[in-house]
Symmetry: C2
Subunit: 157 residues, 2 copies
DNA sequence: CTTCATGCAAAAGATTTGCAAGTTC
DNA sequence: GAACTTGCAAATCTTTTGCATGAAG
């Protein structure tokens, strides 16, 4: 999906969502949508505020707080909770599902997909009578670079 | 592991941890430890406060906030972050590792273990050069009871 | 008697909310 | 015009901190 196609699809989805619930199409919501789609990776309300300002819009934090959940409900964003406890948003529309590998030393986050794990998750859910709608998997450890660095220190301090 | 054995092991582990770092063995820390081990499942600082009061101890929230991380570092508790964004603690010592199935309707949390998934996680980590130390997996969906309830409503409203 | 811990209250963040004014439908 | 939104500021909630007092080693 190209960037333009994502913007178009998101706009459409938001409009539909708003219409369905009798909510209103405001310029703030459209500006928010535009900015949010331009942020790569994870972000929080404050990053959104910066992005809006950078784009020349003035928006209030309150409006951001009120509307990020709307974008989630519309399926454009998704909330993810890092195991550090931070709550962040990320693009859901046009972004394949992925999970996270996190280096506990340098905080690098690598996104990955692994179909086989998802298949097993369905198996677990079935065993317990659950119907899955979502999941979060976070693998925490040390990346190659940090391991190498540790190794170097041991050999030549 | 019996309940008494867990208490003993936890006490021992805490003492060791404190001694190693030149920290002190205080009655507050022991009371906290006792209460925390008695709480089933997940809990937050306020639940700990209630548990302490119920046990007839008076402790301050500040002390709880200061010492839950100590119990984590000592390997007695572990922090887990539900995808709702709530940060909670749970017993780590004497509790096998498990992951969570969460019903998004009734918030039921089912703990499960599934070795095959963990094996695949190692495979992913290896592919990306990571050495795993931990992971969090949360499967989110609807439990049987909530699905049945929904079904009933459709058939006989 | 030195260092660390506690309790309290104040501070700091993060998120939510009440309300008047402005917009959308 | 009725209902929904926004921005602001005040209110909440959760977590952290400064400081004086008390306890541990």
């Amino acid at each position: 999906m190209t960037k333009a196609a994502i913007h178009r699809a998101a706009r459409q989805r938001l409009d539909l969502y708003l219409r369905e619930r009798g909510l209103r199409r405001t310029s703030e919501r459209e500006e928010l949508l535009d900015c949010v789609l331009g942020i790569p990776g994870h972000f929080g309300p404050d990053e959104v505020l910066s992005a809006l300002k950078r784009a020349g819009y003035r928006a209030s934090l309150a409006t951001i707080y009120r509307n990020l959940p709307v974008l989630c409900a519309a399926g454009i964003l998704r909330r993810t909770c890092l195991s550090s406890g931070e709550m962040r948003y990320e693009r859901a529309l046009g972004a394949e599902h992925h999970d996270h590998l996190i280096c506990e030393q340098c905080s690098t986050v690598v996104e990955f997909q692994y179909e086989a794990i998802e298949v097993l998750q369905e198996a677990v859910a079935e065993r317990y009578g659950f119907e899955l709608t979502n999941h979060h998997l976070e693998l925490i450890g040390r990346c190659r670079a940090c391991r190498d660095a540790a190794e170097d220190r041991r050999v030549a301090p």
